[in-house]
């Protein structure tokens, strides 16, 4: 216990690093994943194919290997952006493939009859999109997107291998110096992750409840 109190500043700084990674990589993944999903559900065959290939490749490669490729690969292209950005890029490339699939599944979960019915009621294409299709699609993607962001939170722990002082890296440092307090250190740092995970899940529950069909 004392170890955690003595190193509270360390823990807090590490929490900040992890949180920053989650937020930055999370936002970038949502953006890039949306682009990919648009490619996959759009009418252009070439883009559908390209999106499909991207998702297959990145979803089936271990994150560790993507991190290796980006972290050691970018300098070979003459790009040296320190430690933070290569980690963020690798996390984004990986996570966005799951974001894309979550969004695509959400759109596909809307039965075709919904679009047909709204159009035969005389709604314009824009109205049918705004009033019928997209609201249902948004609701359908909230739980899977939350799972993706929670997975991202846990996956940020891998940056410890690539030089960032995040929660896992700091835990490892402390374990090296204070082997006897292993349980306290482990649960203390684990709790920090649980906090982020629970916050994401709480936000998702609130959004889900607010958008629920009456």
């Amino acid at each position: 216990m004392d170890v955690l109190i003595d190193n509270a500043d360390l823990l807090l700084a590490a929490f900040g690093v992890t949180l920053k990674l989650v937020v930055v990589a999370g936002l970038l993944s949502l953006a890039w994943g949306t682009v990919l999903a648009a490619m996959r559900v759009g009418p252009i065959r070439v883009l559908q194919l390209a999106g499909g290939v991207y998702v297959t490749l990145f979803r089936n490669t271990p994150l560790l290997i993507i991190l290796l490729l980006i972290f050691f690969g970018l300098p070979k292209f003459g790009i040296t952006w320190g430690y933070f950005w290569p980690n963020v890029i690798a996390l984004t490339l990986y996570t966005s493939s799951f974001v894309c699939e979550a969004l695509r599944a959400g759109v596909n979960s809307i039965p075709l009859g919904q679009a047909e019915a709204s159009r035969s009621l005389g709604m314009t294409f824009g109205q049918s999109m705004r009033e019928v299709i997209l609201p249902q699609a948004f609701r359908a993607v909230v739980p899977p997107l939350a799972s993706v962001l929670i997975a991202l939170t846990k996956n940020t722990s891998l940056v410890a291998i690539f030089g960032l002082p995040d929660l896992t890296a700091r835990m490892k440092d402390l374990l090296t110096d204070h082997a006897s307090d292993l349980i306290w250190i482990f649960f203390g740092f684990a709790l920090a992750y649980v906090v982020i995970v629970e916050v994401i899940s709480l936000i998702a529950t609130i959004i889900e409840r607010r958008w629920r069909v009456a």
Binding site: V41, P43, R45, V46, L47, A50, T56, L57, N60, T61, P62, L64, I65, L68, L69, F72, G73, K76, F77, F98, E101, A102, V107, N108, S109, I110, L112, A115, E116, R119, F125, I133, P143, P144, S147, V148, I150, A151, T153, K154, N155, S157, A160, I161, L167, T168, M171, K172, L175, T176, L182, F186, F189, A190, Y193, V194, V197, S201, A204, T205
Partner: protein, 290 residues
């Protein structure tokens, strides 16, 4: 009408515009691909010296041995996780609060904690040396994490059965344990099988974490290969290709099992793996785990 909820059937003008977009995007994609290959070429990444190890018997054998270790690790991890998951999943459904609450807590905790952190913690608990300790740290980490996820899959699988099944069995005078063993579990396993295979994909990908705790496996051997030949990009690409092929095989197996055993009832791994969210979704696209 259109084949998608997102757009109407295109008319001649729209089709012409789509063709234009198709041409532009083909050129753009080809351009990006060519640029990457060209930069790799300039950086000397296609130098035969860097790729030669992968046709050298000594290195190929080492990599195959690493792959064997990885596969063995994945099998041990998944088998253990399935056993642990069944136990925890059934315990969560127990009538006794003293059994139900602790198992709930264990499941929630190990689903929320990063697997990598779990592995590092276990490694330090066992003593942070290379070899056996690293191997068991990864395996134990995978047991705990995947066990927690499979516990949720088990719960969702049993919940997906019609209530009448258990009620009829009780009406016939069966005891609780008999109902579970003879009526519920055999049917639930069929529904759970695709989700468990999808979770095995996650477990297989996660064996790559052996890299950081010096556990024998593909990524650990890969590290030694690129350490010796200074060819990290080719090595990483070869490892990525290996994992992708294995995972596509498992994906295909999961789809087959879905059709053969589970039919319409589907457990979404991505949703089950999340904490605090409604866990059983019965429709949607095939879920690859994270």
């Amino acid at each position: 009408m259109a084949a998608s909820v997102l757009f109407d059937a295109p008319g001649p003008k729209t089709r012409a515009r789509h063709r234009l977009y198709a041409v532009i995007s083909t050129i753009a994609l080809a351009g990006i691909g060519a640029l990457v290959l060209w930069r790799l070429w300039i950086a000397g990444q296609f130098d035969p010296d860097l790729w030669e190890p992968f046709v050298t018997p000594r290195i190929v054998n080492a990599l195959l041995w690493g792959l064997g270790q990885t596969l063995l690790m994945a099998v041990v991890a998944v088998l253990g996780a399935v056993i642990l998951g069944f136990v925890l999943g059934i315990a969560k459904l127990s009538d006794h609060a003293l059994v139900r609450w602790p198992s709930w807590l264990v499941v929630e905790f190990f689903r929320a904690v990063p697997l990598f952190m779990l592995i590092i913690g276990t490694w330090y608990l066992l003593g942070p040396q290379p070899g056996g300790n690293g191997y068991w740290a990864v395996v134990i980490g995978l047991w705990l994490y995947n066990g927690a996820v499979i516990a949720e899959i088990t719960r969702a699988g049993i919940a997906a059965l019609p209530r009448g099944q258990a009620e009829a069995a009780y009406a016939l005078g069966m005891r609780k344990s008999t109902v579970m063993q003879l009526i519920l579990l055999p049917q639930a396993v069929k529904i759970m099988l695709p989700a468990i295979i999808s979770q095995s994909i996650v477990a297989l990908k996660d064996t790559s974490l052996g890299y950081a705790v010096l556990a024998p496996g593909l990524t650990f051997i890969g590290k030694q290969v690129f350490g010796e030949f200074r060819n990290i990009i080719p090595t990483a690409l070869v490892m990525a290709a290996t994992y992708i092929m294995l995972n596509l095989l498992l994906t295909w197996l999961a789809t087959w099992a879905q059709k053969r055993f589970a039919g319409e009832k589907k457990i979404e791994v991505t949703t089950v793996a999340a904490v605090g969210l409604s866990s059983a979704a019965e429709s949607g696209a095939p879920g690859g785990g994270l």
